[in-house]
Assembly symmetry: C2
Homo-oligomer: 339 residues x 2
DNA sequence: CTGTTAGCGCTTTCAA
DNA sequence: TTGAAAGCGCTAACAG
């Protein structure tokens, strides 16, 4: 109908015209970048407001060679711990004024494609919470000054920062608790294709037991879940768990599944065995589980991740950093009180 | 060191030069848009491959006035149903070659800001799974030809498409099951500040009971959870549940919490009462719960959502559509078998 | 079929 | 402090 009102989008040009200045000034007013008199600035902002002007992020990013996007790579989003972590990351990303580009991957090839996609959007950073990115691709990011941070990943790529929960400390706490709880025979439950964090927990658990005088060859049973998550734990309970008094699980889902598997066979914790999991997902706190578990501080992990991202943005040549985030033992019903 | 190799990014210009064609031809080769001879096309693609050329999505989007981004608005990501839904949506979004811009909101104001942000990125579509977007903002999207689809939201904004689980059918199935199970006194558990979907389930449940001859004034107790999720359900169990034989819960978290709350008081399903939840989250299937529940087909919901988005992209003037997605009763242990 | 040209909307020197 | 002008990298209309 009416030409002017039908205009698709208000541009900086429009604002400039109405404020009686040049486009450059509008840009300065909005980005407080480059000098501008307070008066003009105020006037421009006023006009921008009136017109409902919104910066076109695509144009801005094209110019600045960087969008205000942060790419996040996840997998198994519906897993309780994974979704908590994503929750924490999104909070932190948004708190810093970025927008999250979230991609769920199902295999390593998708990871590679995703990483490429992210660079095509000129993201300001990449957070990897799953999979092992090919070093070549990561190097491309590094070269393009795109900071990459891995969460709970093996810290093995130069130029990448990592933040990991302190798995060793967690495993030690678990071993300590079980030994104090009077256990003599132990079990360690993990997936057959475990994550690096899971393996680390296992190795540290074994070592911690040995240091407490346990003959792990004799008195430690390695239980292996062939399926992911709860199901894997549930099925693992049919294995030779006879005589095991204290069990440590690589994650919360395995632990809940295992507990239920044992219950189905008429055994329960803490009467028949003691059980400690990792992750402290909401479910572990529920009345029907009340699992003793190691708490991963998702908020702190997220905070560290963003901190690394920002630090590396400022100084891309910074040497790789790795932060270990504290874990704590949440004592609940599946292990006896030791005092 | 060496000028050429240090080049920040390979552009279409570089490919054009090396292939001995113009930039336009490169564009055509990659977008199969506009005519080009098979030979040149092949040659250009070859060169692009060699050079490792990647389209700059920011520039592309700026030109096309549309990025290949889809904005998704979520909340409470760590809630099991919400994360399953997000999982489904991401799958579908990626399957169609888009990237997801995910924002978690914590109040209606953030929703508004997010919507504005999305438009600044020239998203190809917006999916709202939480909150009630201000009509004015949505209209701006519509005007800018950005399709908006709401999931499990009250379908009340013109120009927006909706996809909802068939809450009424679900409530009817629940009522039917409980009545067949021999219940005479009923309960309905919902949050005090419930979602539209929750309220709809409640109303339909009441109606369905009445149609089956239940005097709902006399024999239906309205239980109200003052907290969200599991905790809310757990605490609701301390209310006057005496004499209630069949309870229907607005969602899975409430149901699990309620079941646990009752267990703590020494009552269990299905012996002391029957219980049906909504959502069929993984947790409801676990050994310790085995909750009878109404399954929401997250994959189908996601498929429909994307279908609406694409349809409206083709024809923005299309009248608002609303799809009701089937729900099904998953019969487990908290209600007796009726045959 | 291919090249030229004119933008998309913003930022950023460089002069004035 | 402000404006003019030159891009950022890509697309699309228009000639040829």
């Amino acid at each position: 109908m009416n030409g002017a009102r039908t205009k698709q989008n208000i541009t900086a040009q429009d604002v400039a015209r109405k404020a009686g200045v040049s486009r450059a000034v509008v840009s300065r007013a909005l980005s407080n970048n480059g000098s501008i008199s307070p008066d003009t600035r105020a006037r421009v902002l006023q006009v921008a407001e009136e017109l409902g002007y919104q910066v076109n992020f695509l144009a801005q990013g094209l110019n600045r060679r960087r969008s205000h996007l942060i790419g996040v790579i996840v997998s198994h989003i519906s897993d309780p711990f994974r979704s908590s972590l994503l929750d924490g990351l999104l909070r932190e990303i948004q708190r810093h004024g970025f927008q999250a580009l979230v991609t769920e991957i199902h295999n390593e090839q998708e990871l590679a494609e995703t990483l490429r996609n992210f660079t095509q959007f000129r993201v300001s950073g990449v957070i990897v919470t799953s999979g092992k990115p090919p070093e070549a691709l990561v190097n491309q990011c590094v070269q393009q000054q795109i900071p990459v941070v891995g969460i709970n990943r093996q810290p093995d790529i130069p130029g990448v920062d990592y933040v990991c929960s302190d798995n060793v400390a967690g495993a030690v706490l678990a071993a300590e608790q079980l030994v104090k709880g009077g256990c003599r025979r132990f079990g360690w439950l993990n997936n057959n294709n475990s994550t690096w964090a899971g393996r680390m927990r296992g190795e540290a658990f074994i070592l911690a037991l040995q240091q407490r005088g346990v003959d792990t060859l004799q008195d430690l049973v390695m239980l292996i879940a062939t399926e992911e998550g709860y199901e894997g734990g549930f099925q693992a309970a049919v294995q030779k768990t006879e005589g095991i008094q204290g069990i440590f699980c690589a994650n919360a889902q395995l632990a809940c599944g295992f507990l239920d598997g044992m219950r189905q066979r008429g055994k329960n914790a803490p009467d028949d065995f003691q059980l400690i999991g990792f992750d402290n997902t909401p479910q572990t706190a529920q009345y029907s589980y009340q699992l003793t578990t190691l708490h991963q501080d998702v908020s702190e992990i997220s905070r560290q991740a963003l901190a690394h991202l920002l630090a590396r943005t400022r100084n891309p040549a910074h040497p790789s950093q790795i932060s270990w985030v504290n874990v704590s033992l949440i004592h609940r019903r599946t292990s006896p009180s030791t005092q």
